[in-house]
Symmetry: C2
Subunit: 326 residues, 2 copies
């Protein structure tokens, strides 16, 4: 079974890459094509466009018909990466130089600014009859992503962040994009408003679990694939793990954390936090939270009118989103 | 007659400011409202939303009905100002601190990123039946503005810029927004495709003349309103005047210009270029070009099916755009 869905994802990904290389930037400003091509063709899992295709296919829409809208979601996602990398002053993304490092900050700003309207153009391409409803979903998502990005930046200097504030931030910054991707697939397939909402929920819960897994893997991940473990720890980043650790720590554990925030020996800092997180039980809290969110995502899919086969495919996709090790 | 159109514009502007203060940011991310409100409420002529209202009114659409789309154009314009000011490292805009100076570059980037989707939401508000056609016009414009911005930045380091390249840049960066504003007003009014195109042309030619006037006033403007004369000259900025001067100068005049580029005495530099521009005749070239563009804008309006009264109003509006002294 697993091989089937894995092979299926590879086929979808190939079709996505093919479209990105040929048609995705048609009509795009020629003097911004190089920088846009640079970010769009970095290696990636392409989870967001894949889930658009999968949901649309579940309602009988062909890959070709759904592709521009799927790529729309991917272009939007990559626009946010270009601007986020500027704000994070990140030199590299997936091992490759970032757009602002390669082309300068000014061009990176303008590149993102052109990618956003382009993504909306792709969304309605061939779907003019559904333009208003597709765009309504997309614009709500786009503004929520910006709201989430702003919260994320504010958290850096905010004294304390509650678990609820954190969950709201990742809902906005990361998860609504998965929700919107699924909703758009459903809209393309002329799904009922109820099914649109349930598939949005599937994407939203999967996206929340995905982000908590991201936080979890940064600390407890497998480094066989060369991913640096402990990046968030070294930055004292307010992740799901750290926020829960601060919430559940006793006085002595809090004191050790305060010391670790100032620790300059990187190895000691990382292993110190790993031990503390296990001791306080936040590794388990994270695993439990992901389980809870995964269950909700499954419930959402199961309550749709999709065929059993299509429900199974989406649930397996959600599991693959979680089961990754990098 | 002039009093009538002037009064008319003041009434439109009041209605625009009223909407900006009350409804324009409904549904906007709360944590980005302060920075967005800051740029949106700076003093300005509000020419772009006014022309949307005027064209729409010409086709029988009420101010209330056309207002969200008019504000959409203004929000988009202000988004470009927020990001342009970052790239220009401008501390002030219209005498007030810029968004990135007040709120930091990161928040200014995210603010603009949220304003762009918000502007599209305003565009289709109440116009869901026309969503696809409105958005098609808007997205084409948005991408062209980014293309123009990129050319403008490239011109700074480009050895030579031809008059044609310059005209293309200002067409993209400045004029298509006026064209789109007029086209959108016409779409709202269910104008024929021919009238939509002619009104787009009216906006485009008016916008081109407007930008050349901008260049002209920087060098030959009236400083009674406190506007600094010669800002472009001090930056060696490749304006319509400078590009034409370089094109038409003889060997001796070129040599004097090369010297003036290096001149450190600001007064000497400004008066030196003013004399040279007059001597070479580029002040007249600019005035002739504006006249030519203005004539084209009048021809475009006159060939529409608008009433004589509405044609006159638009032509007077175009003249007011040009007749300004600041």
């Amino acid at each position: 079974m697993t091989t089937t869905i894995q092979q299926d994802l590879e086929i979808q990904k190939e079709a996505i890459i093919q479209f990105l290389e040929t048609k995705a930037l048609e009509g795009f400003p020629s003097n911004l094509s190089d920088s846009t091509h640079h970010i769009m063709t970095l290696q990636g899992k392409r989870l967001r466009p894949i889930v658009v295709l999968m949901v649309a296919q579940g309602f009988g829409v062909s890959t070709d018909e759904a592709m521009p809208a799927a790529i729309s979601i991917e272009v939007f996602h990559n626009f946010t990466l270009v601007h986020d990398d500027i704000m994070d002053k990140a030199p590299l993304r997936r091992g490759t130089v970032t757009v602002h490092e390669k082309y300068g900050v000014d061009k990176a700003i303008v590149t993102g600014d052109a990618m956003l309207p382009h993504s909306i153009g792709l969304l309605i391409k061939g779907n003019e009859d559904k333009a208003a409803v597709l765009i309504k979903s997309f614009l709500k998502m786009a503004q929520e992503v910006m709201e989430g990005q702003q919260y994320d930046m504010e958290f850096e200097t905010q004294e304390t962040v509650t678990v609820e504030e954190y969950m709201n931030m990742i809902r906005l910054k990361t998860s609504v994009l998965f929700g919107c991707a699924c909703e758009i697939g459903a809209i393309l397939g002329n799904a009922s408003v109820e099914d649109q909402q349930k598939l949005y929920d599937f994407g939203l819960y999967s996206g929340l679990a995905f982000q908590i897994m991201d936080d979890y893997l940064d600390t407890f991940g497998d480094d066989t694939f060369g991913k640096r473990i402990g990046g968030d720890i070294l930055l004292n980043k307010k992740t799901f793990l750290l926020i829960n650790a601060l919430k559940h720590a006793d006085t002595e554990q809090k004191a050790r954390m305060e010391e670790l925030f100032e620790e300059t020996d990187e190895e000691a800092k990382i292993s110190g936090f790993q031990s503390l997180f296990r001791e306080i039980g936040v590794a388990q809290i994270a695993l439990d939270k992901m389980e809870e969110l995964h269950d909700k995502s499954v419930d959402a899919v199961m309550s749709t009118s999709l065929s059993e086969e299509n429900k199974r495919r989406l649930i397996e996709f959600g599991e693959i989103m979680l089961r990754r090790t990098t």
